[in-house]
């Protein structure tokens, strides 16, 4: 527990982070590719027609919910708290889908894989989407929407 932040999960977060990094390492060293979820999802659905082989993208994308389900079954449930209204999900989803395609990546591709590669593009993208997220949530809070 971190003093002042009783709700934080530093140990589980760090351990889960190691698993995520291991997954990305398997993708890099095994298949020679970036484990970028937005790119793989676009490729798996056929929205993108270049990138990883379709079967590979589908297999990776199908693994994500199965891995989460496995942890949920073993741990007796995983806490997931969604916004009370559907609108933040719809508006947020549209922005995330459009933005990750335009910006060539998301938290996994630019964040986990790109930062650890010291890619300049990924450092800029990660700095911008984090800053944008902080400002957006601050504005939501100011506007009484949180």
């Amino acid at each position: 527990m971190i003093p002042g932040f009783p709700h934080a999960m530093p140990v589980e977060g760090f351990a889960g982070g190691l698993l995520i990094g291991l997954a990305a390492a398997v993708m890099l060293l095994g298949l020679g590719r970036i484990a970028g979820v937005s790119g793989m999802a676009a490729r798996a659905t056929g929205i993108a027609d270049t990138g990883a082989p379709r079967g590979l993208a589908v297999a990776f994308v199908v693994g994500l919910p199965l891995g989460a389900l496995l942890v949920s079954l073993l741990a007796g449930g995983v806490e997931v708290r969604f916004p009370p209204s559907v609108w933040p999900l719809v508006i947020g989803g549209l922005l995330v889908g459009f933005g990750t395609r335009l910006g060539s990546g998301c938290t996994s591709g630019h964040g986990v894989c790109g930062l650890s590669r010291l890619s300049r593009r990924s450092m800029v993208a990660t700095g911008l989407f984090m800053a944008s997220g902080f400002v957006t949530v601050a504005l939501l809070r100011m506007g009484g929407l949180l």
């Binding site: 977060g13 698993l19 969604f82 916004p83 947020g92 590669r117 989407f129 949180l146």
Partner: protein, 136 residues
């Protein structure tokens, strides 16, 4: 076959890591972005944890002629910073803050809270398709 099984294993590990770390929970992710509210630093620990295997993997990758399961590396080679990168990242950050979800956790949540996450996933694919149509 070997390729697809390797990708499935990577996906399973990734999804398990997201669920175990608390990152499948939109409220926790939004809590990290909420600097002026009840700030939750968990996401920083997740990022820190993920950097360790990946930093090592990049060091190993430099000494490898080819990946283990396929004949060659297929890695992004773009180096220049451009407007689409910046605008895309800013739009993505806005959506991330509004919903508390990015693509990995959203798809992982299909395994544990499918009905709750479906509106986000549907809208996300619609946004991706819209980008494809506009940039054709």
């Amino acid at each position: 076959m070997k390729q697809n099984l390797t990708a499935l294993a990577a996906g399973l590990l990734f999804g398990a890591g997201l669920a175990f770390s608390g990152m499948a929970d939109p409220a926790r992710v939004q809590g990290f972005l909420d600097l002026f509210g009840n700030w939750d630093p968990t996401l920083a620990f997740v990022m820190g944890g993920a950097m360790i295997p990946m930093a090592l993997a990049w060091l190993v990758q430099r000494r490898m002629a080819s990946p283990l399961a396929v004949s060659k590396f297929s890695l992004p080679g773009t180096v220049q910073l451009d407007r689409p990168l910046a605008v895309g990242a800013v739009l993505f950050g806005m959506g991330w803050g509004i919903a508390g979800l990015c693509p990995g956790p959203a798809i992982a949540d299909l395994g544990i809270a499918p009905l709750a996450v479906l509106p986000f996933v549907g809208a996300m694919f619609a946004g991706m398709a819209l980008h494809r149509v506009l940039t054709r």
